[in-house]
Amino acid sequence: MPDILSLDQISKRFNQVTVIDQLSFQVNEGEIFGLLGPNGAGKTTLVNIMTGLLCADSGTVTLFGKQTAGDAEARSNIGLASQSLALYEDLTAAENLHFFGKMQSLNGSSLSNAVSRTLDTVGLTDRAKQRVKEFSGGMKRRLNLAVAILHKPKLLILDEPTVGVDPQSRNAIMESIMKLREQGHTIIYTTHYMEEVEKLCDRVAIIDNGKLIALDTVNGLLQTHGSNYRIRYSQNNQIHQTNSDNPLDTIRELLDNEEQSSISNLSVLSPTLEQVFLNLTGHALRD
């Protein structure tokens, strides 16, 4: 698959502090690419560089094969749902969408259709004429996403799209993203929620202190950097845990050697991205 986005040796400093350090990766067409890292890792700065809102101190950004991120045509093919709710609270949902649609050069019936379609995608059709300031946090997040997908961008960048939302809205957002993937959108998904990355992303780049720590598929990361499977069981009213890279063999051995009747509550815990991050950086993801 061709590259939609390519970053090559990108660096950015703010007041002598290196926020992005020699960072390189490519995003393929049609994939959901996760940027996983703790708060302050440099994810939002990286997003701003990708979209041309910020200039990198060094390195190059290539969008859609040839254009740089600052190019107007390239930017018009990007949809950004920023971490902050980039909406006008005194306008209604439909008015927000109409305004941003016009700014995306949509007009007439194509604009009206796009507004209806996106409202439907994020499940806000019945709230179209309600002012945004009357929305719940989750509804605002969904509208924020709707604005980003209004013009059917080739590249959709979702920066922490589920921050501060209730579980119901989070599920709605996740479902919307799944639908977008089915429609063939290329998505860059930044988050510090590993569960979301595991559920959604085809490939994941782990970032810490502005550096790329690892880049692979979720399974690849787990296999390469994750710990062994953890097998837990109770025996004689005591909980035991053992690590294994081959849980089936370990369980078989366990059952052969021990009295079967004395073992209960046997469970196998898969390795997680949390463990991957811990193994790679020496600290937890939410530190």
Binding site: N48, T51, Y88, D90, E95
Partner: protein
């Protein structure tokens, strides 16, 4: 396409301003309240008692004093006793509606009802003020007629007036002033019979027809005939046209409305400059920039919204002032030039203030602080004429001063186009400076993030 985006930003900002209750109040309502409140304060408030009349009494007789007292007590008039120069100057400056001069001999003439000269007065009014002129003539004739009527009810006074009149006719006859002596004979005969009747039966009332004639200003305002008997005219009013010197505000609203407009513009500037900071902080600015809208389009859209709002506020206030409070707009075309220049100036300043601050609180504080200083120095809080002399040079740096001059010029200062041009140029220059500084800062900030 760029124009569509620019207009979309403008429309959106206008909608947001309209929906922001605080912004709407300070932009639209507060200026009206201020203009009306201060205008009524400066105009004395509580309405006007009547037509202001400056009275000059050269006669200084009991009759002239009584006549002035009668006018002073009249509900239609507001009488001030002054000397002739003051009277004419006051009317010229537009601070009084008219002046009235009672010449020497006014009292004596009022005593000669049936002979001799009828009492003359001189009434000075701006010829353009037809209604005031007609009204004053009517009022003066009415009170003069009342005086005459009271003479008829005083027997001794009436007898004395008849004696005076008969003596006066005889004197004229002796001098050969009568061209038709038989008329003088008939008049002498009539007045003698009339005197006999008064002496024997008493006589109280003049005929209603006489009163009606006397009260009709058109019938009385004419040249006296050179005849012994001048008819029963209570007063002859000699009209004098006096051109009102227009270099001055006609009332307090002429001063307060430009100030109100300036406050509206300041509210508008504050609201729009704050909106850019808000957009930056809430992320909509980034979103707009990604929407392939360049920085110039966004700034131009906001500036255009600010400009339209300023024009709307100023036009609405001027219309309200003109229709309800009678403010003057002598040069409407110059006023259009002024509004465009002021709109441009304040839009440019808005752009500059909007990029100076990073937080909304700082933006609000800085904008209002700067505006307050400029308003204080520029006559936005009190008229420039009331400011101490040392403020004069400082006020040159205030766009508020130039804006007020640009508004007052076509209103009541009677500025020519030549006088208007430097003011408009200063305003456009300040606006350009604001746009330049603002766009440079905006670009620099975006690149240095």
């Amino acid at each position: 396409m760029m124009l569509t985006k620019l207009l979309a930003v403008t429309k959106k900002d206008l909608k947001l301003l309209y929906r922001d209750k605080g912004g709407f109040f300070f932009t639209f309502i507060f200026p009206i309240l201020m203009a009306v409140f201060f205008g009524s304060m400066m105009s004395g408030g509580g309405g006007v008692k009547g037509i202001s009349l400056q009275v000059v009494d050269y006669d200084q007789t009991t009759e002239s004093q009584q006549f002035i007292d009668k006018l002073d007590a009249a509900a239609e008039l507001r009488v001030t006793r002054v000397d002739e120069e003051t009277a004419k100057n006051t009317v010229r400056k537009g601070k009084a509606a008219a002046f009235l001069i009672l010449p020497q001999g006014f009292g004596a003439a009022k005593g000669n009802i049936f002979s001799g000269d009828t009492a003359h007065v001189q009434l000075g009014v701006d010829p353009k003020r037809h209604a005031i002129k007609g009204l004053l003539q009517g009022v003066l004739m009415n009170y003069a007629a009342e005086d005459m009527q009271s003479s008829f009810s005083d027997m001794s006074k009436l007898n004395s007036q008849l004696d005076q009149s008969l003596a006066s006719i005889q004197k004229s006859r002796d001098k050969g002033e009568f061209t038709e002596p038989e008329k003088a004979d008939r008049l002498t005969e009539f007045l003698t019979d009339f005197q006999d009747m008064v002496a024997t039966d008493g006589f109280g009332n003049s005929s209603p027809q006489q009163n009606n004639d006397a009260a009709n200003p058109d019938s009385a305002v004419n040249e006296p005939t050179n005849n012994g008997f001048k008819g029963l005219q209570p007063l002859i009013i000699d009209s004098v046209d006096i051109t009102v010197n227009k270099d001055g505000p006609a009332n307090g609203y002429d001063v307060s409305f430009p100030q109100g407009i300036i406050w509206g513009m300041m509210g508008c500037l504050s609201a729009f400059s704050l909106s850019l900071v808000t957009e930056r902080n809430q992320g909509t600015l980034s979103r707009l920039l990604i929407c392939s809208a360049n920085r110039s389009t966004i700034l131009a859209g906001k500036a255009l919204a600010c400009f339209f709002t300023i024009i709307f506020i100023a036009s609405s206030l001027l219309l309200l002032g003109k229709l309800v409070f009678g403010i003057q707009i002598r040069e409407p075309l110059y006023m259009v030039f002024s509004l465009v220049a002021i709109g441009f100036c304040f839009s440019g300043l808005m752009i500059m203030f909007s990029v100076i601050s990073k937080s909304e609180k700082a933006a609000s504080g800085i904008t209002w602080a700067a505006m307050m200083i400029m308003a204080m120095a520029g006559g936005g809080m009190m008229p420039l004429a009331f400011l101490p002399a040392w403020m004069g040079p400082i006020s040159q740096f205030s766009p508020i001063k130039w804006s007020i001059l640009a508004l007052e010029g076509p209103m009541w200062r009677n500025f020519s186009l030549l006088e208007m041009l430097p003011i408009l140029a200063v305003l456009v220059g300040i606006g350009l400076l604001g746009f330049l500084v603002g766009t440079r800062l905006f670009t620099w900030q975006s690149n240095s993030q």
